[in-house]
């Protein structure tokens, strides 16, 4: 399969990229590691006139401790760099656990944090060649008018399949977004849209430039549990991240987020209210697991059945909680 024709742009500075997008954003796709975009372009899911390669923009790279005690991670930072950062491993163990489950070591060398956050939603009816998609009359997300996994739905149910966002949601991360009018910072929890097509609150002329992990999340315990068939390569079929702040064996604060079972990653509501002041035991973990499962709305977007995946959200939420607590 060949790539559609496009013009490649390789700006050296962030403002060059931003000013290009200001005028041509609608016709431009950003490329970072390329592990998501290029296969999709070969499948003719995207045929942009321009592809803007962010990789020469040095200011988008690197892990940096901020003066306020938080940590900033450039959107272009390769996932393997985060995986191997002692600072991340020590202070934000949930992110360390999540990042090391992404795809495979080779793909983590290419894939970036920004790319993982902005990952396109995935579905077996969508991530297929043009020829294949013709044989099913296309789908709502691309060229069609039906969501095959939810035929009655007016919105797309392709699953968000990034591993790091649930971890980042648990850490209360912000994303910095740069556009023609300068930079703005939004909580990651307000960045996603639960619609497989709309996906993000991100305009075509904007770039995700950084991720901020707040000082207040430093040192929280954490765990990320991922359902996958293979020990490597696979996207998550379900994923649960948990962070806990503990004092003398009791929960001081807690957050939980799930991925790959909805069009967006979601924080599980009221987890903190149910847990604060409690010891983490099987009974509590079971209860929280059921709550996580209720948040999950998996459909037939991937090979394993939705019912199984929802059940695994329950089990993995429980396990993540117990793992983080102990």
């Amino acid at each position: 399969m060949s790539l559609p024709e496009f013009r490649l742009l390789r700006p050296q500075k962030l403002d060059e990229a931003v000013s290009w997008l200001a005028s041509q954003g609608d016709q431009t796709r950003l490329i970072a590691g390329g592990t998501d975009l290029l296969p999709s372009m070969k499948q003719k899911l995207f045929a942009p006139a321009y592809v803007l390669d962010l990789r020469s923009i040095k200011e988008l790279r690197g892990i940096r401790e901020e003066t306020d005690g938080g940590v900033g991670i450039g959107a272009l930072t390769p996932l393997s760099e985060i995986e191997h950062s002692p600072l991340i491993r020590r202070e934000f163990p949930v992110l360390f656990e999540a990042v090391r489950t992404v795809a495979s070591p080779v793909l983590r060398n290419m894939g970036t944090l920004g790319g993982n956050i902005c990952l396109d939603t995935r579905c077996l009816w969508y991530n297929q060649s043009l020829t294949w998609r013709k044989s099913c009359g296309f789908c709502l997300k691309k060229d069609g008018d039906l969501c095959h996994v939810a035929p009655a739905s007016k919105t797309c149910w392709a699953a968000f399949s990034g591993d790091t966002p649930p971890a980042l949601l648990c850490l209360g991360a912000d994303v910095e977004i740069v556009g023609a009018n300068g930079a703005r910072r939004v909580p990651l929890s307000e960045f996603y849209v639960n619609d497989g097509i709309v996906r993000l609150h991100l305009a075509a002329n904007e770039i995700v430039s950084r991720v901020y992990l707040p000082a207040s999340s430093r040192g929280w315990r954490g765990s990320y549990q991922k359902l996958r068939v293979r020990g490597s390569i696979d996207y998550p079929l379900a994923g649960v991240a948990v962070t806990l702040k503990m004092r003398s064996g009791r929960v001081e604060d807690a957050r939980m987020a799930i991925t790959a079972v909805n069009p967006a990653p979601h924080l599980v509501k009221d987890v903190d209210a149910q847990m604060i002041g409690s010891e983490v035991d099987e009974v509590l973990a079971e209860k929280i697991g059921e709550q996580a499962a209720r948040t999950a709305k998996p459909l037939t977007t991937s090979a394993l059945t939705p019912e199984y995946r929802r059940e695994m959200v329950r089990v993995f939420a429980k396990r993540a909680l117990l793992a983080a607590a102990n």
Binding site: S135, C136, L146, Y308
Partner: protein, 843 residues
């Protein structure tokens, strides 16, 4: 001194350097001047008439040189003479989503792809058939008009007296087993480059040369001749390095014919390389299979009768189907001593990609059912499953009830080995909760005793030429596909001739240069091409020995050749001239010659290999030899209809123990270790044997746990290596390979097959281990986490959650379909009103 110098040693493959450095050339690495890129238009319909094809807009696109359709090459072909049901491109109708409709040859891939979009095809949908049991009821709109009820072929065999056998049984088990569809997933996608020479006499298209990723160059040459109406002498097929076949390249794959047809029309060489999706459509993998199995045993575990009904979902074309369905029945025999067998096999056509031969061809899914049922029976009668196998061993030499001749039989030792090494007796039943051990056995042919195309020609022929430089050139049609065919050939020739391996150059699989060999399938190469190589080497050696005897003034029987030395028996090598021993001969033209030497020297007692070769050439005027192999008549099987498939000159044997643990909350199965003992007769190259056994076990592991082609109304939902999940290195367990050498009386140096026989045992070994671990009997493969969990939940009486698309993995009735809805709102290729996609509606 050991018995042998070259064989029996673990050596690097002779083509390893090119593969590991990247300098080796695979089909897609070839380019010739003026070469065009071919792209194929595939059908979006599972079953439809083609009313009209308009290629004019595609032809007008700049850069497009030719567009071909079915009418450009309507001759039918197929790998089996009884199954000539394919054409290069669809003629009149399409039979599966992905069927081949047209091909564009253009100056670039991009232009060829654009041109595909400009081809206008008008289809008239027909009802389609996706489930084989439904398809068997079809009375009209047949997939092939000459196949009533969409049954490609059915066989009904009775050996012994099954009714009596069941009547005598103390215990009878009966169940349905289902194995879902798997494919080869070879690393190299198929690729063919085809181009015609210009005939210098006529100026017209002359000979055709084809470079192709094939396991069967000779069959490709034959089928190209059929489709193109070209004599075989005008076609040269060259097989470059092949990046894995596993059966997926063991017949003629559509692109191989299409590239030649397109090259003919374009008057230029055309290369087609499949995308991974196209590889899945070309498929020819293991069909999803229903096995209804009944086994009767005595109290002591002895089998009294087996009744087996097999339904294979063969897809839209015959391919190897008739052979597959026969293997499924025939290889119920030759592993254990079964006195009475009834077999009913149905190969059924459906509107899906064609299934064909895949590693362990025809045996794997039936073996899964059989070995699982043995385990169930053992539990019922309270017998150790390993002991159950032991009491049913054959007593060779034997002819089985269905006419298979078994000579060498290392199965008893294979069982002993894995039982001992796995600590079966000490550990089984004492492992922690959720952890278990399972045992299973399997076997496979060392080549088919009867060839696909009935003829009296040898199955393998090998030529050898040795020149005055002492270089040995071996010409073989056998196809190296990564399994070590070339290395095996070189080893046997070097061993027989007594020369070093580095002298031997293998020229293989080029129909202009190499003698006919049927190819690399049914694990035939070591046994058949190996025997041919051995005989060719022995023929050449005679000339060398006679010349050396003359030179050393001794009897023929006194000449010894080994490790590049030639000496008269009884003389010591220690005094031999160092230069001679090293193999160097100054002035190969004179110094070595017999006449010259006679004048100068007394008779020698030692010679170098080169001296002996030069002497032989001086005397005989050349040094060549030919050897060929055809299986003996006694090994060719019985007389019943379909008796031709199953017989082999020798069978390999495997026994395996798997140790697994099951996560009872998630249903995820972890395989910790597999002990695999394989009887390969003699290991000519032990490390290569281990590689083959480990590879087979690993492939079985994939089918057991995670590989599965997922279907929805004839659409393959996972035609890529991201969603079709072959195991990664992370979840691949340690595999301890134990080589058992039974020294076959007819194999080359006693060798038999090593590449396929170990696959089938892995799947039931794992399912039996799962049973041992958590007490669930899975009768549907793969044992994917949702199936395992569903079975566990049923067992512990948990609340019913439908997580397996309505198919109970412990008692599967039918195949499952992917969820969701195909149906669209006026956007897609409208399906016929009776198509299951519309009848079923949205779920």
């Amino acid at each position: 001194m050991t018995e042998y110098s070259v064989i029996g040693k673990s050596i690097a493959m002779i083509d390893a350097a090119g593969k590991t450095t990247g300098s080796g050339k695979y089909a897609d690495d070839f380019a010739v001047p003026g070469m065009l890129v071919g792209k194929i238009l595939h059908s979006p319909y599972p079953h439809a008439l083609i009313k009209r094809i308009d290629t004019s807009r595609a032809r007008e696109l700049e850069g497009v040189v030719a567009v071909v359709t079915g009418e450009d090459a309507p001759n039918q072909y197929g790998i089996l003479p009884v199954g000539h049901d394919e054409t290069a491109l669809a003629v009149g109708k399409v039979r599966y989503v992905g069927d081949n409709v047209a091909c564009v040859a253009a100056i670039s891939e991009e232009i060829a792809e654009q041109a595909l979009e400009l081809i206008d095809v008008e289809y008239e949908p027909l009802p389609a058939y996706f489930d084989p049991e439904q398809s068997m009821k079809a009375e009209r709109d047949l997939i092939h008009e000459n196949r009533p009820n969409n049954i490609e072929k059915d066989y009904h065999h009775v050996f012994g007296d099954p009714e009596k056998g069941f009547a005598e049984a103390d215990c009878v088990a009966e169940a349905r087993y289902i194995a879902n569809e798997v494919t080869h997933a070879a690393m190299e996608p198929h690729c063919t480059l085809a181009g015609f020479e210009i005939d210098p006499q006529t100026g017209k298209q002359g000979r055709l040369t084809v470079w192709s990723s094939t396991q069967v160059p000779y069959y490709l040459q034959h089928k190209l001749s059929l489709v193109l109406d070209l004599p075989m002498s005008q076609i040269r097929v060259i097989k470059p390095l092949v990046g894995g076949g596993f059966g997926g390249k063991s017949e003629i794959i559509p692109l191989e014919i299409i590239a030649a047809v397109a090259a003919r029309a374009a008057n230029a060489p055309v290369k087609i390389t499949y995308t991974r999706e196209e590889v899945f459509w070309a498929h020819r993998g293991r069909p999803r299979t229903i096995v209804d199995l009944k086994t009767g045993v005595k109290k002591d575990g002895r089998i009294t009768a087996v009744a087996c009904k097999v339904i294979q979902d063969g897809g839209a074309y015959c391919s190897y189907g008739v052979v597959t369905i026969l293997y499924s029945g025939a290889l119920l025999g030759a592993l254990y001593d079964i006195p009475n067998i009834r077999y009913d096999g149905f190969r059924v056509l459906t509107n899906k990609p064609a299934c064909g031969a895949m590693r362990g061809h025809g045996t794997v899914n039936v073996r899964f059912a059989f070995e699982s049922q043995m385990d169930e029976i053992a539990a019922k009668i309270g017998l150790d499953p390993a002991e159950m196998r032991r009491v049913n061993l054959l007593k060779p030499p034997a002819i089985t009830v269905n006419g298979l001749r078994v000579l060498s039989y290392g199965l008893p030792e294979c069982i002993d080995q894995v039982i001992t090494r796995s600590g079966w007796r000490e550990r089984r039943g004492k492992l922690p909760k959720g952890r278990g051990l399972g045992v299973a056995c399997s076997h496979y042919v060392s080549g088919a005793a009867n060839s696909i195309i009935r003829s009296d020609m040898p199955h393998s022929t090998v030529n050898i030429k040795i020149d005055r430089d002492g270089g040995v050139v071996v010409y073989t049609g056998a196809a190296e596909i990564g399994q070590g065919s070339d290395t095996m050939t070189a080893q046997i020739v070097a061993e027989v001739l007594g020369c070093s391996l580095s002298r031997v150059k293998v020229i293989a699989a080029d129909t202009d240069l190499t003698p006919i060999d049927l190819g690399s399938y049914s694990s035939r190469v070591t046994f058949m091409a190996g025997n041919a190589a051995l005989r060719a080497a022995e023929a050449v050696k005679q000339d060398i020995v006679s010349a050396a005897a003359k030179r050393m003034n001794c009897a023929l029987e006194e000449v010894e050749i080994r490790d590049d030395h030639v000496w008269k028996r009884g003389t010591s090598l220690s005094g031999a001239d160092e230069a001679a021993a090293s193999g160097r001969v100054d002035g190969q033209i004179l110094r070595g010659s017999v006449l010259q030497s006679r004048k100068e020297e007394l008779p020698k007692t030692h010679m170098s290999f080169e001296e002996a070769v030069v002497a032989a050439i001086d005397i005989h005027g050349g040094l060549t030899g030919t050897g060929s192999y055809a299986p003996p008549m006694e090994a060719r099987g019985g007389k019943h209809k379909g008796a031709g498939v199953g017989p082999s000159p020798a069978y390999s044997y495997s026994a395996q123990v798997a140790e697994v643990s099951v996560d009872e909350e998630t249903g995820i199965v972890t395989v910790h270790k597999i002990w695999a003992a394989h009887d390969c007769g003699r290991a000519l190259n032990p490390v290569a044997v281990e590689g083959q056994v480990i590879g087979s076990v690993w492939m079985g592991l994939g089918q057991a746990l995670q590989e599965e082609m997922v279907w929805k109304d004839g659409l393959m939902m996972n035609p890529g290596l991201l969603e079709y999940r072959s195991p990664s290195s992370v979840e691949s367990p340690e595999i301890e390979c134990i080589i058992v050498e039974s020294i076959d009386p007819e194999g080359p140096f006693g060798a038999k097959e090593a590449g396929e026989g170990s696959l089938a045992a892995t799947i039931p070994a794992i399912s039996n281990a799962i049973y041992d671990a958590v007490g669930i009997r899975l009768r549907e493969a793969p044992f994917s986490p949702e199936r395992v969990l569903a079975a566990l939940r049923t067992k512990r009486g948990a609340k019913k959650v439908e997580m397996t698309e309505g198919v109970d993995p412990t008692e599967p009735a039918t195949f499952r379909e992917h969820g969701g809805a195909l149906w669209y709102r006026g956007k897609g290729p409208e399906r016929h009103v009776e198509d299951p996609a519309r009848l079923g509606g949205a779920r």
